[in-house]
Amino acid sequence: MSTTTLTHDDAHHHETPTGWRRWLYSTNHKDIGTLYLLFALTMLFLGGASAMVIRAELFMPGIQLVDPDLYNNLVTNHALIMIFGAVMPAAAGLANWMIPMMIGAPDMALPRMNNLSFWILPAAATMLILSFVVPFFPGGGTQINTGWTLYPPLSIQVGMSMDFLIFAIHLLGASSILASINIIVTLLNMRAPGMKLMQMPMFCWTWLVTAFLLILVVPVLAGGVTMLLFDRHFGTSFFDAAGGGDPVLFQHLFWFFGHPEVYILLLPSIGVLSHVIPTFSRKPLFGYNSMVGAMLAVATIGMVVWAHHQYTVGMSLGAVTYFMIGTIIISIPVGLMIFNFIATMWRGAMTFETPMLFAIAIILMFTFGGLSGVMLAVVPADMQYHDSMFVVAHFHYVLMPGAVFGLFAGVFYWLPKWTGHMYDERLGKIFFWTNIVGFNITFFPQHFLGLAGMPRRIIDYNVMFTEFNVLSSFGAMIFGFSHLLLLYIVISTIRGGQKAKARAWEGADGLEWELDSPPTFHTWEVAPTIK
């Protein structure tokens, strides 16, 4: 870049746009990051509210609050909103904020595309919410009662709200792909001079792998739901056995996306942990190279084990044996990651601020979820666990700690950097404890429900399942309402509080901590040099 263009750009950049234009027209990675995070927070409450209704309905046997179709619709929406609306945008928000600051780049490589990839989201969310609302209007057809997996033939029976949902998925997918392209281009081209790939902060590495995974698997989902759309309206029979199609094909397409999706949700949070744990242990990340290697291994193996979500469809012995061994093998790289985190804490000098508390909780509970994952991988045993509440408990133990708590840790860790204010540590700790205790009361009993024979996605159950459901719903209320405290902490930290230093945490390391808190609107206009 020549000096003349640089001065020219400077003149433009220093007038900060105000009002709605600042947000709608934004090409600034920090503003777009903020938008992503606020969007995710909104969706977290929407998805959470649907989960609250589900748990309230399951509080006692019988049908009390909602009718069965609405219940199934809530189950569907809870999953889709949480995955596509809350976790993925929140991770993208962290990426937007942190990646340019961490690698010493002035902004994302493709700022206008960045704007587009965010602003597709509100449109997609509207579509998603419409798919939920439409059946309540006259002529709106039936509700989506399939669960987020949208398996045909049930999804063929659903009314027009399924079409809204299919288009919502297309839009959400397009948004993720655009964001992924942007992140890949940024990471590969915009690193500060002298920063080699193997010197990138770990959060950047996790996002690089995540972005590649997204580009590889999201189109498969888009293809799958498009075929569903064609089956519904244009007389094709991709998934209709009566027309020579195959209902199981959809399951393969869905889980070819769906399993890597688990790692898409998980990896950015692993990235956050790789910064939080060293900071509060006051010693560098243990095993940077093996961490990168483990992550690449997880992503690669994770691409080829999808069918463990559908052991019960009747595959051949050879196929299930392969998927079983492949799935069990994933415990090796994941185990190595967990080991590296523990070894980072080992012989460190730990303090226990809120991000670190979340990090420790993640290590413990994610290990638990991972081990129940190994149990599920074993085909004969899975013939019992499959589609039972045991599975529900398992994946919440993987995704809440593995994805959501990691994002919470990231938010608390970087909030001082973003806002320039320290959050109230006491409130942060209260939030942590209510959140963790609520989470465990909610999901731990569900293991027993599943083992005793309660299937998932049922609105009504026999009295033999009462006790643990009561307990689980009780925990869910604590868990759900604890997030209001998160909202309060975030708002009050944005509004004010103790001034944060540039290096807000004593043990923090990295380029982002050399910038002011909050950073100026444009940062690293002159790239730092890495030794």
């Binding site: 179709d69 049930l154 243990f286 070894a343 004969p380 045993a381 026999n462 009295v463």
Partner: protein, 374 residues
């Protein structure tokens, strides 16, 4: 409201919502139910093995983490060991850890592989009793292929089933003890899944597919389960009850079923003209069993998924169109083809639908009409 729930609530309130360990605890399961077949026992054993391995690993990880949390903290004045990752352990842990995990993996995988072969592959060259299990929205159909007997199995409303609500059916799947049974799974509409925990396995019912599982039954008793794959509105109302009885009892039951079948066939094909009252009485019973899950006993349905029959254009319109929908179903909806019922049954149901709930068309559909329309 059932009494069990009230007890629980009282208990929960008394113990301030904490998980207590008294009273009702013995009633609900913490683990799999006791197996009732050889394959189920194998599955139970591998489940226990992986769970024990997992628990040990979990305790090790928790132990190390809590040790570290206690000793390696700044408030205890612990100085961080900045060179820990450069020690020999730091340099080689990326090999040591995966090898250790691989060891655990192989232990689990080798045992799992052996069990899998036994459970997954239906034994060849042996005499097995074949039962075809068909999932419907929302009931189960069991075909005893070797005996030419068909059983329809539906949930029983709470008023009648009480504490067994959602775990009891009108017609159980009766099986003889000490028999190897092959289950052939398929579906008439959407996905379902056959799951009886005591038999050990779960298998999806997929339209257009026939998948198989097997069990070597070794214990008499009543074993309960339910549909495990979401299948629409009343997914929760698809219980499965397997009753394993002695061979003698099973043979008697077969004989009984055969007689009922022969009598019903004779009645249906007698060519008799039925009175409206007879058809209405028969029709009401059949309607309430087979149709009311969707269209409701009141005939009001659950729109928009399940249209009302009361004052509906179909039930009030021409008999031929009505008959066509009942016989052949309606594509793109949950209405399935009911052509497998005999002429008398269809005639009775249609007469009932056209005259109940103030529909009062006065039409009487005779078995002969149905026969002609087929």
């Amino acid at each position: 409201m059932c009494s069990r729930f009230k007890e629980t609530m009282g208990f929960a309130l008394a113990s301030s919502g904490l998980l207590g360990a008294t009273g009702s605890q013995a009633e609900y399961g913490l683990n799999f139910v006791e197996p009732a077949a050889g394959v189920a026992q194998e599955i139970y054993d591998i489940h226990m093995m992986t769970m024990q391995v997992s628990t040990v690993l979990l305790l090790i990880v928790f132990g190390i983490v809590f040790y570290s949390l206690y000793y390696h903290r700044k408030s205890k004045g612990f100085e961080p060991d900045q060179n820990f990752h450069k020690s020999w352990f730091g340099n080689w842990s990326w090999v040591i850890v995966p090898v250790m995990v691989l060891g655990v993996d192989l232990t689990i995988a080798s045992k799992a592989d052996a069990v899998l072969k036994k459970v997954w592959v239906v034994p060849e060259g042996e005499k097995l009793m074949d039962v075809k299990v068909t999932g419907h929205q929302w009931w189960w159909e069991f075909d005893y292929l070797d005996h030419n007997i068909k059983v329809e199995s539906r949930y029983i409303p709470q008023e009648k089933s009480e504490d067994l609500y959602l775990r009891e059916v009108d017609n159980r799947l009766l099986l003889p003890n000490n028999t190897k049974v092959r289950f052939l799974h398929t579906s008439a509409d959407v996905l379902h899944a056959f799951w009886v925990p005591a038999l050990g396995f779960k298998k999806d019912a997929i339209p257009g597919y026939v998948t198989e599982t097997w069990a070597d039954l070794d214990r008499e008793g009543v074993f309960r389960g339910q549909c495990a794959e979401i299948c629409g509105t009343w997914h929760s109302r698809m219980p499965i009850v397997v009753e394993v009885v002695s061979q003698d009892k099973f043979d008697n039951w077969l004989e009984e079923q055969n007689q009922i079948k022969v009598a019903a066939l004779a009645e249906a094909s007698a060519g008799k003209t039925w009175s409206k009252d007879e058809l209405m009485a028969k029709g009401e019973e059949l309607y309430n069993t087979k149709c009311a899950a969707c269209h409701q006993v009141s005939g009001l349905g659950l729109p928009p998924a399940f249209p009302a029959l009361k004052a509906s254009p179909i039930a009030l319109g021409p008999v031929a169109a009505h008959l066509d929908i009942v016989l052949n179903g309606k594509e793109g909806t949950a209405m399935q083809a009911w052509g497998t019922m005999n002429d008398l049954e269809i005639a009775a149901i249609m007469t009932y639908e056209r005259n109940a709930w103030d529909n009062n068309t006065g039409d009487v559909v005779q078995p002969a009409d149905v026969k002609q329309a087929r």
